[in-house]
């Protein structure tokens, strides 16, 4: 992949956003807005036939989705199965990456977006490219607006090409001319609106300019002019005293004889005759159909990139939609700095994006770590926000390494080689072991496959057995993980055990955070160094109505109802 990125296809000097690391750009052949590699992720040879057929007669729909489902993403060391479901990644994409244009939300290809997030690119230049595009889109609303208009045009093109609407209702040539018109408009938008971009967005203009400079595009323009404005007639209309039209006078008739598609009347008739002799219909529509075919054949290779361009734009518009959601909730998002492993990292204003859609108020917090290879033990009361913090950290890592805004007002992260998240502890009917057994099997698998420098997030490790035996396994896991130098986040209710570890200080890199409690002993959803002294289970029980008095009251009411 690196070879691809450094291939000598670069015609222009790399255009970079001034505030961000250099984004590697390769122009012309393919816009590749998502990765900036200049290579299509699609199987173009197969796709060309499908698109040509769809152009000719419409398709049953799903052409774009099927092509994208088989697309090749950027290389990634991450395994989606290790974290996607525990982080509710699909739900996150659906709820938190809305694609909105002019206040109207459009259904994006969430499957593609989820795949992108589940596979953060290994190549940091791709991440830089994405970050550069996003930063410029934020800085220059006009560019965002232009990108939205391109997105609308592409959606219309996809809808018309896939036959979702219009096919069968219109004349076939009219539909195909409409498609060509959309193609023309899209290239005009790309070339005219993105030529001033300094980030990877410039690729759009470069791509469009490269196409516009070719014969195929000129032929496309000629054909559209031939269809729409081949001749102009100037009339003089005589109107009588009663306001009625009395007559017409033809002043001037101009035909665009320079148009290469223009032919004399005799030649047009002879063309129809020729087509008839060759087995086609004797009609003007048949003539136009072949002209359209000739033009589209030249354009089809360029239009194939629209298929990935539309989801690439969704990637950026979804990120901008996420930013809009956060801003509406009074929260900040940012493109994080990437710190080396040995440097401290800090996330300020970190929030859980999954709460944006369900909670009226989301409380951000700050998290600071000395360096990457740190094991952070988080303690605190139930419902104090420990698991939400773990989700926030995991999603921030995913989004940051995908080149998107992270759910934090600012900060830095360290690129992890992999991500393993164990938050869910649901019981499945087909599992072979109990809760502890399943957890231990996942831990064993973790040690078997976890690469050095990864990020591990474990919620309430070893909580499925008695505390004394669980603590032994807990300590063993924490010690052994240190050998792989991961960044580990673990929550636990083994408070005495955590306090002992803190007091003994035998495990290097082990740090402690606890849920901050307010004056009323209620959690503030902030985190401070140290180990919590209580889980405040009693308070939680009281809040949820599980005290002795409340339970007695419930039982009395129950018995009375049954007796009556």
């Amino acid at each position: 992949m690196l070879d691809d990125l450094s291939a000598p296809q670069v015609l222009d000097a790399p255009q970079t956003h001034p505030d961000l690391p250099s984004a590697h750009l390769t122009p012309a052949g393919c816009p590749d807005l998502l990765n900036g590699r200049g290579r299509s992720r699609l199987a173009l040879d197969d796709l060309r036939t499908s698109v040509t057929l769809a152009f000719a007669g419409g398709s049953a729909g799903g052409l774009f989705r099927e092509a994208l489902a088989q697309s090749r993403g950027a290389a990634s060391n991450w395994s989606a199965s290790a974290f996607a479901s525990d982080l509710f990644l699909a739900q996150f994409v659906t709820q938190c990456l809305p694609v909105r244009v002019d206040g109207r939300e459009f259904a994006a290809d969430t499957g593609h977006l989820a795949r992108c997030l589940a596979s953060p690119p290994t190549d940091d230049r791709i991440v830089s490219h994405r970050r550069g595009c996003l930063a410029e889109l934020v800085e220059r609303p006009a560019l965002r607006r232009a990108l939205e208009q391109v997105y609308l045009s592409l959606r219309q093109y996809r809808s018309l090409l896939e036959g979702a609407s219009g096919s069968g209702r219109w004349d076939a040539n009219r539909r195909r001319l409409d498609l060509l018109k959309l193609i023309h408009e899209t290239f005009e938008q790309l070339a005219n609106n993105f030529h001033t971009a300094t980030s990877g967005l410039r690729r759009l203009a470069d791509f469009a300019e490269a196409v516009r400079g070719g014969e195929t595009y000129r032929s496309l323009g000629d054909l559209l002019r031939y269809d729409q404005n081949f001749a102009s007639v100037s009339l003089k209309v005589g109107v009588g005293a009663d306001g009625r039209i009395r007559g017409f006078e033809l002043l001037q008739l101009e035909e665009d004889q320079q148009n290469p598609f223009a032919n004399s009347v005799l030649r047009r008739w002879l063309v129809k005759l020729e087509l008839f002799v060759r087995g086609y219909q004797f009609s003007d529509g048949e003539v136009m159909a072949h002209l359209i075919d000739g033009v589209f054949e030249g354009m089809v290779d360029h239009t194939l990139h629209f298929i990935e361009l539309i989801v690439d734009i969704e990637f950026y518009l979804g990120a901008l939609g996420f930013r809009d959601l956060a801003l509406q909730a009074g929260l900040g998002v940012s493109l994080p700095d990437f710190s080396p492993p040995e440097s401290p990292r800090h996330l300020s204003g970190l929030f859980n994006p999954l709460l944006l859609a369900s909670q009226p108020r989301v409380v951000p917090c700050d998290v600071t770590l000395d360096h990457h290879a740190t094991t952070l033990l988080i303690t605190g009361p139930n419902s104090g926000g420990k698991t939400r913090l773990l989700q926030s950290l995991g999603l921030a890592q995913v989004m940051g390494q995908s080149g998107l805004f992270i759910p934090a007002a600012g900060g830095s992260i360290c690129a992890a080689t992999s991500l393993v998240v164990s938050l869910l502890q649901d019981t499945h009917a087909d599992q072979s072991e109990g809760r502890l057994g399943m957890e231990l099997m996942r831990i064993r698998e973790l040690f078997q496959h976890l690469p050095p420098g990864a990020m591990v997030i474990l919620d309430e490790l070893c909580s499925g057995t008695n505390p004394s035996e669980g603590e032994e396994i807990f300590e063993l896991v924490v010690k052994m993980l240190g050998r792989l130098e991961p960044q580990v986040f673990i929550t636990t209710h083994f408070l005495s055990f955590a306090e002992r570890l803190r007091r003994e200080g035998k495990i290097p890199g082990l740090t402690f955070l606890q849920v901050e409690l307010g004056a009323d002993q209620a959690p503030t959803y902030q985190f401070v160094p140290g180990v919590a002294r209580t889980s405040l289970a009693g308070q939680t029980a009281a809040r949820l109505g599980v005290t002795a008095a409340q339970l007695n009251q419930l039982v009395d009411a129950n018995l009375q109802r049954n007796a009556s």
């Binding site: 014969e215 195929t216 000129r218 032929s219 320079q258 148009n259 290469p260 598609f261 223009a262 032919n263 030649r267 002879l270 063309v271 020729e274 087509l275 008839f276 002799v277 060759r278 087995g279 086609y280 003539v287 072949h290 002209l291 075919d293 000739g294 033009v295 054949e297 030249g298």
Partner: protein, 328 residues
């Protein structure tokens, strides 16, 4: 393959793609398109060829029709009998004589020349139209054509023109069987007489109306039908019958009451026989005689009662006129 779809103003690459578009369409379903092209030229060609062939056939048919029609017209024109023909004029007298003879019996008549055997023979050789009918039918004014249709050469006519040598049952029965057989012998022995039905069957084909109908025919099917009809018409017999100068009419009066009717319908009754000279417009012979089959043996009477009575009556009338002359 060059195409008129492209022109010099087009970029060569565009022209090449348009040409490929044409070829692509052809390659996509080459046999189907070849078949379509073939049909586009073959079908109109076949239609044109068939039209030309049919028009030629039509011309030939028209020529053939005209030729056949002309031939038929000539044939019909040649067989027409002018309205002023004596035979046709005599036909007009038949109805009047039939009415007269079916009225009150006017008494026996025998012209003297009939008593001369040789003159009788000459008279009968003048040819006679023969009609036998019930008296009541003739009296009630039935059309003579209808009566003629039910009349044919019978035992009376045979025995009148060619009487047996003697009036024995055997001799009479021989004659009757000849009459019943209707074979060539009957035709020969009655060659000087013609059934009146022949006249009315053939006369329509000998008049101007028939030629007019032929001339009006304008299609082959009608002409063929007219040809067939003309061929079936008994023209020679009719033409010969029209030359007859005599009218031999036999009228069966109603049967006697309380009499037994035989299986063939014969019963005792009176029979009128009239021989009219149509040329002179006078009767040559008139007789009224009673017949009764009771003299016939029962075994023979069952089948031949009417024939034997008729033949016996004819023999008796000829006997009254004198001995026949070389009837055979």
């Amino acid at each position: 393959m060059p195409t008129l779809l492209t022109n010099r103003r087009m970029h060569p690459a565009l022209a090449a793609r348009i040409e490929r578009s044409l070829r692509g369409g052809e390659h996509a379903s080459v046999w189907k398109r070849r078949l379509l092209v073939g049909l586009r030229f073959t079908v109109p060609g076949v239609i044109i060829a068939c039209t030309i062939w049919l028009l030629g056939q039509l011309d030939q048919d028209r020529a053939a029709l005209a030729e056949r029609k002309a031939r038929l017209e000539a044939e019909v024109a040649g067989q027409l009998v002018p309205a002023g023909n004596a035979g046709v004029r005599r036909i007009g007298k038949l109805q009047r004589w039939l009415q007269q003879e079916s009225g009150p019996y006017a008494g026996d008549v025998t012209r003297p020349e009939l008593n001369d055997p040789r003159r009788l023979s000459d008279t009968l050789r003048r040819g006679a139209l023969y009609l036998r009918s019930d008296l009541e039918a003739a009296r009630t004014g039935a059309r003579i054509q209808d009566l003629a249709g039910a009349s044919s050469r019978d035992a009376f006519l045979l025995c009148f023109l060619s009487p047996p040598k003697q009036r024995t049952q055997k001799a009479l029965l021989s004659r009757v069987r000849t009459a019943y057989a209707g074979d060539e012998r009957l035709g020969w022995d009655t060659r000087f007489a013609a059934s009146l039905s022949i006249v009315y069957r053939g006369l329509p084909y000998l008049q101007d109306d028939w030629l007019t109908k032929v001339k009006r025919a304008d299609d082959l099917r009608t002409v063929e039908a007219l040809e067939r009809e003309n061929e079936r018409a008994p023209l020679p017999a009719t033409q010969k019958a029209l030359e007859s100068e005599l009218f031999l009419v036999v009228l069966d009066e109603p049967g006697e009451s309380n009499a037994v009717t035989e299986l063939d319908g014969e019963r005792p009754h009176q029979i009128r026989v009239s021989l009219i000279d149509l040329e002179a417009d006078r009767p040559l012979l008139r007789r009224r005689a009673r017949v009764a089959p009771d003299w016939i043996p029962e075994a023979t009477r069952v089948r031949y009662a009417r024939g034997l009575d008729s033949c016996g009556l004819a023999f008796d009338i000829r006997q009254s006129l004198g001995p026949p002359v070389a009837a055979h």
